[in-house]
Subunit: 227 residues, 2 copies
C-alpha cells in the first residue's frame, strides 16, 4: 500500500521540478495511440522510478533524457539490462511485480500510464493489444540481441553499443553518451578499464573521434571494427 503510494507520488509529484502539466499537442512522434494517455512527470538523475519487487502498476514512456533498467547483486555488482531513449517504452516487461529496477541516468521526462487502464482499453481495442505485444516483443528482441553481444569480444560489444546508440538517438553526426563509463561497463558486461581502453584503441585506429569523454563522432566504416 505505502509502496504503491510511494510510486504514485514519485510519478505524480516529481521532487526536482514543478510537475508542469503540459497541455498535450497531438501525437507528436509516432502516433502509436498512447500519446495522450497517462501523466507526465519529471525525474531527476538516479531518482528511482521503480524497484525490483514492487508491484508493476504502470507503463512508462520516455519523453526526454535516458532511463536505465538494472539488477543489483550483493557485493555492489550491478548489471544494466537496457537504456531507454525518447519515444521508447519500459516497465511492461514484468508480470505483477517488477523484476528489475529503473532510474534515469540524466534528468528525464517520463510519461506514466496506468496498466489497468491499458488493459481496459485493450479489451475494446485490438490495436492496443497489438501495441502492448509489440512493446514487449521489441524489448525481448533487444534483450536477445544484447545476449548475442555478450558472447562477443570487448571491441565488438563497444562498437555495437555505439552503433545502436547512433541508430536510436538521431543526433546528426555526433553521438552523445548520457551515461558514465561504469554504466556502459555494467551494460556490456565489461570493466570500466576495458571500456576505456577499447575507446582509446578505437580512437587510435581512427574508428571514432572523441570530442570529450562523452561526445564521439563515429567514422565511416566503424562497423567493420566488430571483430
Amino acid at each position: 500500500m505505502s509502496m504503491q503510494t510511494q510510486i504514485i507520488e514519485a510519478a505524480i509529484r516529481p521532487p526536482t521540478r514543478k510537475p508542469v502539466r503540459r497541455s498535450q499537442g497531438k501525437s507528436s512522434r509516432s502516433g502509436d495511440g498512447l500519446d495522450r494517455l497517462g501523466t507526465p512527470g519529471e525525474f531527476a538523475a538516479y531518482q528511482k522510478i521503480f524497484k525490483a519487487g514492487e508491484p508493476a502498476e504502470f507503463l512508462y514512456k520516455v519523453e526526454s533524457g535516458c532511463v536505465r533498467t538494472y539488477t543489483d547483486f550483493d557485493g555492489g555488482l550491478r548489471r544494466i539490462h537496457a537504456f531507454y531513449y525518447p519515444g521508447e517504452y519500459f516497465g511492461l516487461a514484468a508480470g505483477d511485480t517488477h523484476t528489475v529496477s529503473a532510474d534515469p541516468v540524466t534528468d528525464s521526462s517520463v510519461r506514466v500510464i496506468k496498466r489497468q487502464s491499458l488493459m481496459a482499453r485493450a479489451a475494446r481495442d485490438i490495436a492496443v493489444v497489438r501495441l502492448l505485444l509489440d512493446i514487449t516483443t521489441k524489448d525481448l528482441q533487444r534483450t536477445q540481441t544484447h545476449n548475442l553481444l555478450l558472447l562477443k569480444g570487448a571491441q565488438d560489444r563497444v562498437v555495437s553499443f555505439l552503433l545502436d546508440l547512433r541508430n536510436r538517438k538521431q543526433n546528426g553526426g555526433e553521438v552523445c553518451l548520457p551515461m558514465s563509463r561504469r554504466d556502459i561497463a555494467d551494460h556490456l558486461g565489461l570493466t570500466i578499464e576495458t571500456v576505456s581502453r577499447t575507446f582509446t584503441k578505437l580512437r587510435n585506429a581512427s574508428a571514432i573521434s572523441m570530442l570529450t569523454s562523452r561526445r564521439f563522432v563515429l567514422r565511416e566504416g566503424i562497423a567493420a571494427f566488430r571483430e
Copy 2:
C-alpha cells in the same frame, strides 16, 4: 509464399506420424485456455520448425520432447537462445517475421496454433490478451535471467543451467539432458571443452553424480557451487 507453404506443411503434415487432427472443443478451463487450440504435430529431431526470416504465422506449444531456438552466424557459429520443455510456448517472440530459428533436439510433439485466430480471440476475450502478454513476458524474463548468467563464471553458468533444468522438468531426483554438450555450450556461451571440464569438476566436488553423460543426479547443496 512457398516459404509459407513450407512452414504450414511442416506444421500440418508431420513426416514421422499421421497428422491426427483432433476435433477442437471449446476452450476448457483445464490449463491456460489454449489447450485445445491448434493442430498437434510431430517433429523429428533437428527437423526445422521455423527459420529466421520466415513469416511468423503460428504460436507453438511443446507437448513432449524439447525444442531449441537459435541464431546461426557465419563461420558455423550457433547461439542457442532457449530450450522449451513440455507445457511451454515458443514462436511468439517475433513481430511479423521470425528473428530466430527453431527445431527440436529430440523427437517432439508440438501443438501449432494460428496467430491470426489468437488475435481474433484476443479481441473478444481479455483473458487471451493477458495470456499472450504472459507468454511473451515470461520469455523476456527468462532471456533477462540468461543475460545475467552470461556475465558469470563457467561453473555458475553450468550449475544454474542444471538447476533450471531440474525446476522445469520435474523428473524426480534425476536430471536428463536431452541435448548435446555442443548445445549446452552454445546456450551458455562456453566451449564444449569448458562444459565438459566443469561437469568433471562438479563431479569431483560431489556436487553431482553422472549416471551417464546425459543423466545426472544433483546433490543437495549444489546451489552453493554458483560462484
